[in-house]
Symmetry: C4
Subunit: 230 residues, 4 copies
């Protein structure tokens, strides 16, 4: 595959994956964004800013370098990239094994984030997917590297591919854009289920060794092929 072919493939995947955010109700209006790293290149593809989900197409996705600068003269470069581009870029620069990043304000995840509370690992599907709790990152606002730094500082060395940024929303990472979208979907699913469970009492904790066993099996055995290491 040439570099151009790789870029085109990521454009198509990133554009198409936004439909999954809509399908699972993770976004409203123009909120939320997905990016994907171009394999083997210091480039990533991200959603344009303030454009509706109905309008997204491979050719209006925006190609950026790892500092978040738009590559001039490429398709979509007449538009601004997502206002969260700096945070995505920071993650790609600092976590070399990350191939995809997703950001949403999905309802239940953001509800936990507004209280600054981590989601406890009390269902086996969450142990499979996240290997423990989904942690909370710092309060940080747009304007410098503070969101990106908060994501990396929280997820570096953590099993979870999702972080709840306090008072803000959720960022997820993955081996590619699809894997990061899966993490975003599963984050909202467990955020919702565990919220509802706690409304009428306390969920029963799962012993740590059982969480470890579930996580290990799922990362290595489940699905038609082994999951990537993250």
């Amino acid at each position: 595959m040439t570099t151009d072919e790789k870029i085109q493939a990521v454009r198509e995947e990133v554009a198409a994956l936004h439909a999954e955010l809509v399908r699972y109700g993770l976004v409203v209006w123009t909120g939320g964004n997905i990016s994907g790293r171009v394999p083997g290149e210091d480039l990533f593809v991200i959603k344009p800013s303030g454009v509706t989900y109905d309008e997204l197409a491979p050719d209006n996705m925006i190609l950026c370098d790892l500092d978040g600068n738009v590559i001039p003269g490429t398709p979509g470069s007449d538009r601004s990239p997502s206002s969260d581009t700096a945070a995505h870029a920071y993650v790609y620069r600092n976590m070399s094994n990350v191939g995809g990043v997703v950001h949403t304000h999905s309802t239940y995840a953001t509800a936990w984030a507004a209280r600054g509370e981590a989601i406890p690992c009390v269902i086996t599907g969450m142990a499979d997917e996240f290997g423990g709790e989904i942690p909370v990152g710092p309060f940080a606002i747009i304007g410098d590297d503070s969101i990106g730094r908060g994501i990396v500082a929280t997820l570096e060395g953590h099993r979870s591919r999702a972080v709840l940024m306090q008072n803000h929303g959720v960022f997820t990472i993955g081996k590619d854009a699809r894997d990061a979208v899966k993490a975003a979907v599963m984050t909202e699913d467990v955020a919702r289920t565990i919220h509802i469970s706690r409304q009428l009492g306390e969920p029963i904790p799962i012993p740590q060794d059982r969480i470890d066993a579930l996580y290990d099996r799922y990362q290595n055995v489940y699905g038609q092929k082994p999951q990537g290491e993250l």
Copy 2:
């Protein structure tokens, strides 16, 4: 553009935007209504009363003057305009920078309104969009100008483009009909997220200077072009 062309453009936009109220689950049956000012004219276009969402089309939208009177002989003028037309008209007469008005009984916003409680600004997306809390307007019922007066008195000089009318529902304003619809969608989104967050504890407050910084950036930088001043 001639006046007729401008009227036709607003008819098309207002009719089409009602689909967004359905898409985001803000309305049931024939509830909810959108209007749009005809730019540069003392006219606005509004949904007919008691007509289903499946039947809405540019030609059955109703053209009114700023006192809420139907303009005779225009398409749709054989029907009654929305029963909330007087409230929309009052807003257009008294807030010259408003180009669109939306009214819904969306679930979570109305739940806050029934308790007469403002929605606190505890998520950054709400700071972006509303610049602070979404305030509560007075209890007022149809029959005179009291709903319109309540909307204007509450929103005049407020950053929020949305007001929760006590025991009733939500009215939003915008620079045009699309902007007011966006405000209605975002109102329900934050009403829901913050409701859910509060079910299991208290959200962490966001410092006022951070709210101010987020609002300022979003109104001036976000999206493909600057947002209107409202």
Copy 3:
């Protein structure tokens, strides 16, 4: 219109209206049922029992007399009518102004019914539509006239077109099948909104004279033509 034409028109309306129960999420699987009186005849049309919503069509709707007996030799008469047919028939026999009946186990209405608690009238849209609280009927199970009697005893002389049958679900009535479906949709809408409002405090009561004024206006003025008297 001949009797046959009237029957056919009601078959078509009743079959089509079931899609509204699906659209508004009021039913799952084969649950829920709608019936419509044939105007001027001692007949009504009702959904067959245990048939999926995808299969419903005018020709498998079932024609019954006012004792709930299937009219032999008519389209659909090879199937059993809804297991709630006796309750629908009882209503038509005893409330001559009722032209349509709907039964669902919609989530929020049934949640109130399981506690045996009436839904208080704390939002203006509920005052418009129901003129006050939605009352609770007795605990009654299938096998005799007790469900039908409970519906009639509760709704006779009440403004509400909806009754929550204790531990069971909701029955609504209307001037025709469409009006009863509207009442079912609005019942779930207010059941949900007021439930959510009460989760975080007490809604503000609406004074009785304001409820009366709203109900009077809505029944006589709203929509493209006056509402029926029920």
Copy 4:
């Protein structure tokens, strides 16, 4: 019908029924799975592992023996069967009257399961369908027969066709795959309704003799033909 025709019929039914899990919101991403026994044979058909709902088709369903081994050389046998195949197989080996098994992590059912709390029978539709409470099975994780044993030990001799596996999700059984899917849909429906009811107080209990009467009638009379005995 030849064995091959029976296998093909079950492949088609099992593949198609997965759409019902999506329609009723019981699954996200590749979660959840359905299997169906091939009538009169020691075989069952199950969903492949880690494959999206959009890709499911009769020819990628997987044929297994009652020990959960894939039958070599049959369509789909190049993929792995669902990671829950051992649990399905255990149920078919030990409950000869079961013709279908469904597993989901549906939100409200899993919320009860995370607290290890049975769903009480406080609505008549639940008495019809389940004949009493939906019980909780033990905490068990993938790797041996413990999930299968927990399902069978809990449901053997119980009226309920659904079991909440602690901290995990729900398994349902039926006379065929369709009946088990219906049980999964109704489990989530009652889990949700009764959860919501309990948020604002205690539901009124239904006397045991009334539960018995409802269950008896529904299993023997409801629908166009008698229900299977399970």
